[in-house]
């Protein structure tokens, strides 16, 4: 899991993600350091919410006798949550990459147009 993957996973607005991804590599070291912490914190919180949710659901199932509670409960929840995060990551990264590619294409097109416009005005 990379920091850029996290940007893609987290439920930010797409424009914000694009902005972050675009700026990320050129951020000054101090800002980058702060943002890296923030992103991993947010990822951690996201993970926690997911873990919490999975635990709740498992407990509800356990209430109904559909889930067996034993001393591997927490391990199972961790494993399940990590898998879900991983799945989420794959989906989000694919989506975000497409979106980033789209944004990059648009940028290139804009630049080409701008360039043409400058040439034609000469």
């Amino acid at each position: 899991m990379t920091t850029k993957d996290i940007i893609k996973i987290l439920p930010f607005e797409q424009t914000f993600k694009d902005q972050l991804l675009e700026q990320y590599d050129s951020l000054d070291p101090d800002r980058k350091s702060t943002i890296v912490d923030m992103l991993w914190d947010a990822y951690g919180m996201f993970y926690d919410v997911k873990l919490q949710e999975n635990m709740h659901l498992a407990l509800v199932k356990a209430d109904k006798g559909e889930f067996e509670l034993d001393n591997t409960f927490y391990a199972k929840m961790v494993e399940q949550t990590e898998k879900e995060m991983q799945d989420l990551s794959v989906q989000a990264v694919e989506g975000a990459d497409l979106s980033a590619a789209r944004a990059a294409m648009e940028k290139i097109v804009r630049e080409i147009r701008a360039s043409k416009s400058v040439k034609s005005s000469k």
Binding site: M1, I35, M38, Y43, D48, V49, E79
Partner: protein
Amino acid sequence: MADIQPPPGGVRGVHKAPESGDKAIFFRRELFVREGGTRNSTEDRLRRERGQKSEFVKFDENLNKQYRTYLQNHAQRLIDATRKNPQLFQAIRHLPDADILTLLTSVRKNADGKEKLDEHNNPILDVSQEKIQKFLEKSQGWEITTKMIEHETAMLEFSLGLNHLVRPPATRNPRPDLRSGLPLNRDRGWLNVPVEDYIGRFLGRRVYDVAGRRRLDLPNIHIAGGYLGIPAIQFNAADIQMWHARVGSAIASVGLGAVGLALGGPVGAAVGAASPMAVEGMVRTLRGGLRMDVRQLTEAFEAISHNTENKTYLREVLQIDLDDFHIVGGVVDRARPTGRSRDIKLIQKDILENLHTREEFYTKGLEVPENNFDSSPFQTVLNYAHHQQVEALDTKMQAELVNEWKPDEGGIRDAGGLRPIDAGFNPNNLDHIGNIRRLMTAQRKVLMKEMQEFLREELQERKVIDSKGPSLEILKEKKEERTKDDGRIKKERAEGLTKRKKTLTEAKESLTTEKNSLNTYNTAVDALKKARQDAQDKYGANDVASINAVITTRENGLTDHTIVGSYAKQARALETARKKEIGKIDASIPATITGKTRINETNIRATNINARYAEQQAKLKEDVYNKVKQEVTELKALRSTIETSQRALEERQTGVMAARIQLESLRTEFSTVADPAAGIDIQLANVGLPVVNLTPAELATQPVDEIFRRIAAANTAGAGLPPPAGPVTIGWSEANLKRPEIRQRVIKAVVEARAQTTENADPTRVGRLPHYNTATNPATWNISENLLRSYSPAELIAEQTRRHAAGLVPLVIPVFTPDQAANAILEAHNRLQVRADAMTKPIEEIDEQLKQIDHDINYIDLKGEVAQIDAAVEVVKRKDYIYEQAASIRINRNRFVDTAVIAVTDVEYTTQERAVATRPKGYFEMLDLMFGYKSKAERGGYFEEIQKVLPPRKLAEVLHNSFGYPAGVVNADENVYLTNVFNRMQTDMTARRMSTVRLQRAMRAVIHRLEDEALALA
């Protein structure tokens, strides 16, 4: 609002009104889904016609204060919780408390500029008013705070299995004609009089001002029992209906349970059982204000009590232990008579304050019509199924909550799992537990989202949010300063240390003054104790009477030959023997010797006998007589010392009076500061302010300057308490605490706390204390502590006997046995001794610190600090990579937590690494992960530097704290300590309990530790 001009320089963010620094003004669209959506159209139109601007909302000074107070209290609670459990918010991450801690606090610094660390080696945090103000300069700050208040209120209420309803369910009926709800006049004029006459007296004067109450102005309600017989009041139909709803059959049938009743106690049988809040709500109803009702809601307790994180959070942050309660017979009851939760009245107070603050935010701040909102933030979850609508707030955060919660599409379900949009949905048989859980989860998510929004704004504004500021830039400057070293750093640091030295010296002087004030008295007590002990050891006597008896016996032995073994008897025996021998001389001389020769022989033999006996007599005298004389002299001297000391300990003596005053003042000042019933903490709690932890235990263990700081903080909080409850004077101000006489008072409290702690830890005291208490109790013997110290056991018994004889003490109170008397006296001495020690030990500690400061002043290692800064910069720059590698620690756990040691012959390692071959191999791997040292050209030399910056103990400590391992893993040997931590990690990873997120957080903790330490370099 007409005079408010648009903020200069743009349309974003919060801008202060020019006329008041405490008014926060926001663009309406920042907070609302629709501009003007909360106002009725007529009002908006009128405003527009008048040319008034409606696009702003403002939070007035009072509301601003309420929010600041809430954030201050909340941040302080978080600080206190993390002081007790540093890993708390790494374990509980479902609320943005870790961010709140970062955003609203600052790290306390020592005089030398270094971060002040607590007992866990974590930086000590203080709430920063400046940061709170900054936080509230953004609309998101207000939104986040409101959500936090709402969430906390729900947690508090649900933890007691309660739910408050401020208006009846009918209020938000979806039918348009009833959207305005029941008439809610602010004041009902004439009705106030009977209401106040008949009800107000039960609630106190504050009922007169119900509508105008402010946060922190909600004293506990006490109803002294009795009946609310108010038949004389003529209510209209609606009022009577409400009356029954509030205190009549509705509440009686629902039942509050023991906990609900504990909120206030029954009002009276005639009207059923109602809490004071219910009664207050009724009053407010009658006066046209908001209505408050309290109902038992065991489902809420169920929903919250089965969640480990909730339980931990409630216990550590909100001080409610859910294990104190359980559900019995459908109501929440106490599970044990005394628990660890704070007083229910305080919880009640927090709930009321939160509800009131929330009310003001919506009504006075956002101007949401009262008809549109519930005063209880979770009323929605209970009413929704009936009304199929949430509060009509039209705020963005409300919209986000609904969007997250999706009540129609699964947020709300009936017991059969059907949603409101499903056919057959049964609104009368709801899955309350699930509904509450789903709403709470949604609430948490929205909170997190709000926080993200806040952080994003900061990013967009290109501001560094982290409280540390641009650390790499600062570290670069620090390194440059040290590299050029023009002597400034050493000078500044020496100045800082000198300042610290001055503070410590002052503290030492204060303690010395305290100690000296007992000197005269202590000298007399010590002299008495020593004389008694000497006399006891040598002569078996320890008081004047018994010494006199010994002297008499000894002196009599010199002259009274009837005393067995006495000198006189022995001398007399010698004389008798001598005479007997002399008498036998003649018979022993042969009869053949006659005349002058016989006489001469007789004389010679007699002379010899006499000489021998004279020698024996002399020896006897020397051995016994002189010794007795010497003993008697010594006994008389001891007697004299005892008599002199006892006279010095008579109650009227100046030294005794001074000591008594001194000892009493220790207790008085201790009570002033730390008495659980009257100290600073309870004074704060009584006015609704957070405590500052001035408990006896804290007083006994914290440094004196920390105690000063907490007292000053309490004083500041009291002074900032808004009227009418405040301002109040609690403790002393920072300025006053600099005055010697005030400092002296605090020092006394500290000394007494330390003494009491020592006493309480003494297992033998329990055997002495009852006799001491009986001796000093005014109702029994009423013998002063001082007199006890002057007595021997026999003297104490004699005094008791005398008092019996004089009729001063009833004969039913028995005279002590010698053992009991000795216990009472020993305890009196012990009480003095522990207090004297409590004054001496801190002085010795300060001496040690002063010695260390002297050393530090003379030894400032700038080269080592440069290496430390370089290492910190390296890990901060590698942070991205290190976090990304967190997963690989688990995958390659056999390498990263390898506890085997490297062989001294293993050429895979450099000489410098092999020099510390006793360290577990995993240590080298962790260092390589953090610093990448193995790929450095100067691997060995670099390793030498970084292993000083991150030695095994430090790594073990950070990992230990981060993973929340038990104290048992700690070991005095740093390699064993780290090995223990590695073993625990290995177990967790093997058992699949160690998530990547936990590992990443641990790595983050290591990085932050190194970064913070480098930044703390003065």
